[in-house]
Symmetry: C2
């Protein structure tokens, strides 16, 4: 492999000066990358390299870096030449030095971190900061100017790139996909994003598949399937392939420049056709395949074994440099091979040759506002959600499908924000009863259509693909570039993106501490088709554990809401869509269910986050005998049904009903900004009365949140205990002891004195459970007194029944 293959002769040939410039820039970026990995002093090699110039801990990933610097150099060329807005997404984000070298060279690094400007001292600071305690991470990360992408966990680069391109018609997102990352599922699925990108209204994504052949210790699949299969694969994804392959720098520069020009010409032609209305078929978007050696330009051989071009250059190709003079000499020779004296003047300033390649202002790869979306973000125009309220003359007097009500409001949100708001979901918008939005827009769809199809369109604002990974990745990219969105998902399957949530929450946590990163819109999840109403789909669809997962992340970032009915759902989602830099998780049902609160009450309740249902309580504002607490729509229903039984059967019992919307309020204020003080907790839940808490999720989450509270020893939580199957809705709550009858039994078991006094009632409740179970097994449906149940417990809001 000594020459470069491309389309020789096609595209505009590269002039000698342009070649020199590209190569100088590339050498400079490589020099700066090696320097970051190895040096803590003597950055310009103004004196012979000594052990104390070298970092004691050598960290970083060299292998992928020279390929990235190569791509970035070429992107700089076309930005300047074509006056393009380019956002780079570096999938092989382990190659952090490449991005930092770029940022240093284009001055952004010094603007953001003033101690690391473009001179010798700044270069020393750049080197020292890299992978150094208190400094810069070794991967691309929030701290990396120009990046919307964390390079640690592989798989999401291409989805991020598409998310960034949506609704940004003037943007080209150049996305480097590593051959390691290409083996992951999320990345493999992302190629089909071509069917969801509108060439008229969206920007372009130019994937650059970088085949350097190896992962940590293994060859990469796509690097070893041969050009024929690889080409077929990429064409199967809907791409037109541009191959650049080799290792001789000047030939590679020429080939890359030619193919990049061709690719950008193709993009321009596609966009022109689409925007002038002459595009009929789905376009074949270009993809560049770059085959270059792993650890290109690094040490060829170390201790007699080949390093350049093998997996051995994945991390630090030369180790033990401080201890071994021979290695030290090899490092110095490697650094000097880039001829730094041609690249930087005596003060460490990059030479003019290099600066000619660096774009200006916001065109700079590291300074593009697209990579700091908060700069571009504008608040959503939100229609008044109160106008979409359902009428609630009395608690439980009307019913609604909460998500259907929300859908009507979201329809208007879509209408009011035609370029900055999208709805994401795995083929579930209608199933989740948000289909009112389809009155205002379509599902985005660029693939083939049939006459029987409905609500498909190029410019659709609803993004549906049966991949939670894609939904999440697109949405992240969309948010990180300054827009807004909502991801609606079956509750159980949101676990598919647990790790993506992790990475986004970590991104937000770090970003919040960086003054130059502007706040972005929150990542909003609407989890519906939830655990309690997946009775028809069965056990595999029953898992409320995402809440547990979420609360492990930094309290300043995560919010969890469990609105008990339609009006509270409206209020909560309105709040979430206004917020910034959070992850909001909202859990709400889609099945017909009673409305408890009028809109004014809903707003007041959601504002407090937790509060009494006075109209359901019988403690007359005094100390209750027992607190029935609930969080979530189904638990609220069962709690109120239990309350009604208690009211009828044990009228002298003082029951207080507390409903929790904002789960984080249960924590102490020391743990979460929403946490309520102990005094407030005690006032609501009492410090000493039994609390029977009906919870939407796994019961121990409530214990975890409340274990420091005085009344914790009296807290008894019912929730999902991982029992389920295909059955009826009421059988589901019975299977998990969350049903009204069991809650009454729990009260009897816990209120002192009731065990004897209410023994008969307890037995009746147990019998009721058996009867319901038997009925269900016989007839395949819940008994009429369950399905036909209504509150009728009186209680105009704010009044005693």
């Amino acid at each position: 492999m000594t020459t470069a293959e491309g389309h020789p002769g096609e595209g505009r040939p590269l002039g000698e000066h342009e070649l020199d410039r590209l190569d100088a820039y590339w050498r400079a970026a490589n020099y700066l990358s090696v320097g970051q990995i190895y040096l803590m002093d003597n950055p310009l090699l103004t004196e012979p390299l000594r052990p104390e110039h070298v970092k004691p801990r050598l960290l970083g990933h060299w292998g992928t870096t020279p390929g990235l610097t190569f791509v970035l150099a070429h992107l700089n060329r076309v930005i300047a030449e074509r006056d393009l807005s380019v956002l780079s997404v570096l999938g092989p984000g382990h190659g952090g030095p490449a991005a930092l070298a770029t940022a240093w060279l284009d001055r952004t690094y010094g603007e953001v971190y003033p101690e690391a400007g473009r001179d010798a001292e700044g270069m020393r600071a750049l080197f020292r900061r890299f992978s150094f305690p208190g400094g810069a991470p070794s991967h691309v990360a929030p701290e990396t100017p120009g990046s919307i992408h964390e390079g640690g966990e592989l798989g999401y680069s291409l989805a991020h790139a598409y998310g960034a391109a949506f609704d940004n018609p003037d943007l080209v997102v150049a996305c480097v996909v590593g051959d390691g990352e290409a083996e992951t599922g999320p990345l493999a699925a992302s190629w089909h994003s071509t069917k969801f990108l509108d060439p008229a209204r969206d920007g372009a994504v130019l994937p650059i598949l970088h085949l350097n052949g190896y992962k940590i210790a293994n060859p990469a699949v796509l690097a070893r399937i041969g050009d024929r299969e690889l080409r077929a694969l990429l064409e199967g994804y809907g791409h037109r392939v541009h191959l650049v392959s080799g290792d001789e720098p000047s030939a590679m520069h020429r080939a890359m420049a030619a193919e990049l020009d061709l690719a950008l010409d193709e993009i321009a032609a596609i966009q022109h056709a689409a925007r002038s209305g002459t595009l009929t078929d789905r376009p074949q978007w270009p993809v560049i395949v770059l085959r270059s050696p792993k650890g290109w330009t690094g040490p060829k051989v170390v201790d007699g074994v080949p390093v350049e071009g093998t997996w051995r250059s994945h991390q630090v190709p030369l180790s033990g440099v401080r201890e071994d003079p021979e290695r030290l000499a090899q490092l110095e020779a490697w650094l000097r091979s880039y001829r730094p004296e041609e690249l930087f003047d005596a003060h460490g300033h990059p030479t003019e040759l290099i600066d000619e390649l660096v774009p200006e202002g916001e065109r700079r790869l590291s300074a593009t506002p697209y990579a700091n979306g908060g700069l571009l973000r504008a608040d959503l125009r939100l229609p008044d959600f109160r106008e979409f309220a359902v009428d609630v003359p009395a608690p439980g007097a009307t019913t609604a499908e909460a998500t259907r009500v929300l859908g009507r409001w979201l329809r208007e949100v879509v209408r009011a924000n035609p370029h900055t708001f999208r709805l994401f979901g795995p083929d579930e918008t209608a199933s989740n009863r948000l289909d009112a939005v389809l009155e205002a827009t379509d599902r985005a769809w660029m693939a083939g259509r049939l006459p029987t199809d409905e609500h498909l369109g190029r410019a659709g604002r609803v993004m549906e693909v049966l991949s939670e990974h894609l939904c999440q990745g697109w949405l992240e990219g969309y948010l990180l570039t300054g827009r807004h969105g909502l991801f609606s998902c079956y509750e159980a399957f949101i676990h598919i993106v647990d790790s993506m949530f992790n990475q986004h929450a970590k991104w937000l946590k770090v970003s919040r501490a960086l003054p130059w990163r502007r706040p972005i819109s929150s990542l909003n999840y609407l989890l519906t088709s939830h655990v309690w109403r997946q009775d028809h789909n069965g056990f595999s669809h029953q898992d409320p554990g995402f809440l547990d997962h979420v609360v492990n992340k930094k309290a300043e970032v995560v919010r969890v809401y469990l609105p008990p009915d339609a009006n509270t759902l409206l209020s909560v989602v309105d709040h979430c869509l206004r917020s910034r830099d959070y992850v909001n998780v909202v859990v709400a049902g889609k099945q017909p269910a009673p409305n408890w609160l009028s809109m004014p009450e809903a707003i007041a309740h959601c504002t407090r986050g937790v509060g009494l249902f006075e109209w359901a309580s019988t403690d007359s504002g005094h100390e209750p005998d027992v607190v029935l607490a609930c969080a979530g729509d189904v638990p609220t229903l069962e709690t109120l049904a239990a309350t009604k039984i208690l009211r009828a059967e044990l009228p002298e019992l003082a029951v207080r009903v507390v409903n929790v919307v904002d789960l984080m309020r249960l924590q102490p204020p020391s743990e979460h900004p929403h946490g309520m003080p102990d005094s407030e907790f005690d006032a609501l839940f009492t410090p000493d009365r039994p609390i029977v808490f009906a919870f939407h999720g796994y019961p121990w989450l409530i214990h975890r949140l409340a274990y420091r509270r005085r009344g914790h020893a009296n807290l008894h939580v019912r929730g999902y205990i991982e029992e389920g199957t295909t059955t009826t809705p009421f059988d589901m709550v019975m299977l998990n002891n969350l049903d009204r009858f069991h809650l009454v039994m729990d009260v009897i078991d816990r209120v002192p004195g009731l065990a004897v006094r209410a023994a008969h009632l307890r037995q009746r409740m147990a019998d009721e459970r058996l009867r319901c179970r038997a009925h269900t097994r016989e007839f395949g449906e819940d008994p009429a007194h369950i399905t036909g149940w209504s509150w009728d417990g009186g209680g105009r809001p704010g009044h005693e029944p």
Copy 2:
């Protein structure tokens, strides 16, 4: 779309009788499927259909079902004709009725559920059980004979299929991939499994991509990209494409039979060449693409809108059947369109024509032992792990890399079990220091090779691909068909398979209650490169939350182990590899670390799961002033370092050191079978002394497990609080207040009287922290007194120091 396309003329043409047989079988399976969804009585339509014959809740997914029955019918033909062992994996597992119809027809259903045998009463039971409380799930599931696959969460069918095929040279796994599922990331990645399947030693996977065009409410991408791109895509995956397309049944039967014969001939040819040593290149395995209408043979039009061939047939195409006589008549007509009188005799027995197609004994799709892997499972031959012990003359006297020690034993496990044990990991076997296994075997690799590659081979037992989804899916398939394995993974990235773990844990929970399902080997995770030693990779690689995720699942299924050193790791993994029907999670470091326990002590400690480190304690067996508890290797190290400081500085303080290996022991026995009684907990941890607990993971997990204990109010837990970056190892523990100095401060803050008496020491500790931090920031490495620290605290095991 009225005829079938295939390779007319190629393959053996189908005789008329064979065609009749196939079609009769297909109609019978369709009839039985519709019956399952709709009927609770009158199964043979011996009387006109009345509302009370119809289920009150209509549940199930019709859309995919007729395609599945079509495939299953054709599989039956080739099984009988070629005497094949076929395992079917149904990716569109929502089509549960198809699998149950097959099981009923091939008699397995009645063998497993005797009330549902092959007569009218049994048919009624089959119908009633389906999606009925107490009955059969609507998807393929553990309860479905013949399935190793849960059909609820989409994405894993093909990975399961490959896992089943590994080391089963005589097996053909026919895997139906739905066009919805094909959009998911894990499925998209799975196609490349062709590069990991050895045609000589493994069986074959025949993917059948079923394009019925729609998901829940949307078209499917692969159904709408046209044949040219689709063919390119599949060829890019390494396949040879066989297309069967149409809707006219007899033409479709002919085409399917022909293409299936061709595909099986190709498989036979590939295997023959590989097994006779004449295969040189990677083979092009066949794939069948089946284009058929969604809801094929179902209602064509309902209320004037098309249903067959559209997404409207996804679930229940006719609703309101009980209430609407017209709908009822339409249902009856639909059922009768299959001409049940030709398919079943008056007693409900399938006719001879159908039985001719049903294979015998273990060849039956529903009775194959490959789908009930416990039947085939043999215990591993495990070399004596004690022979691989590291020498520990005194606690902390030697050091080892725990996973490297384990690797030597695993090498012998591989050698002793050359056909039934594999190691899975995303390119991390060497990185995770298990590379001794590569002395005994290779990494499986069927793609191209270069001279610089190492340890690649067709018959390798190490499965490395940069997809946690594939590792998990392959391993699940391998275990479910009766074999053994271990998945080693970076701790943070195991979250990528959170949802797959969920589904497997649910599978195990359900399977354990089914007497006919035999126990399979446990799913063993080795999580290494863990949160505390990802200082070089930074924040994205720091997440210990999989433990929290795991403990949400049923206690009878999950086990979590945190061995503190090399010998305990050996003992724990030996235990895990012997176990059945669990998910075992083992967390262990790969970095050099002190050895604390000799092998006899390690075995004793692991057997108890939790125990005193008497040699480190200074309570002389009496009541301590404080308990220092720890779980995990790094927390154990920091705890012992804190102990050493306390011993020197506060020699009069009675300190007890408790180490937890088996995390589940912290729970009460009512919550987990490993839970220890309160008496034992109190004896170890005391009911009233301060407990400073240094934990590997998020601290609240310990609270969650122990909140019911008497001493809980005295429990103070340090762990990972989501603080991290690229830094040094000791800085990482300091960032999260888990370091030795902070633990000493915690002791001082919590032991009554010490706050004053040890105020000076507390200040010194705080200063130490500042000094360490400053040193790290200055020099980029931990101070020498940290890196050079050793226990030297005396204490031959079992003796007071």
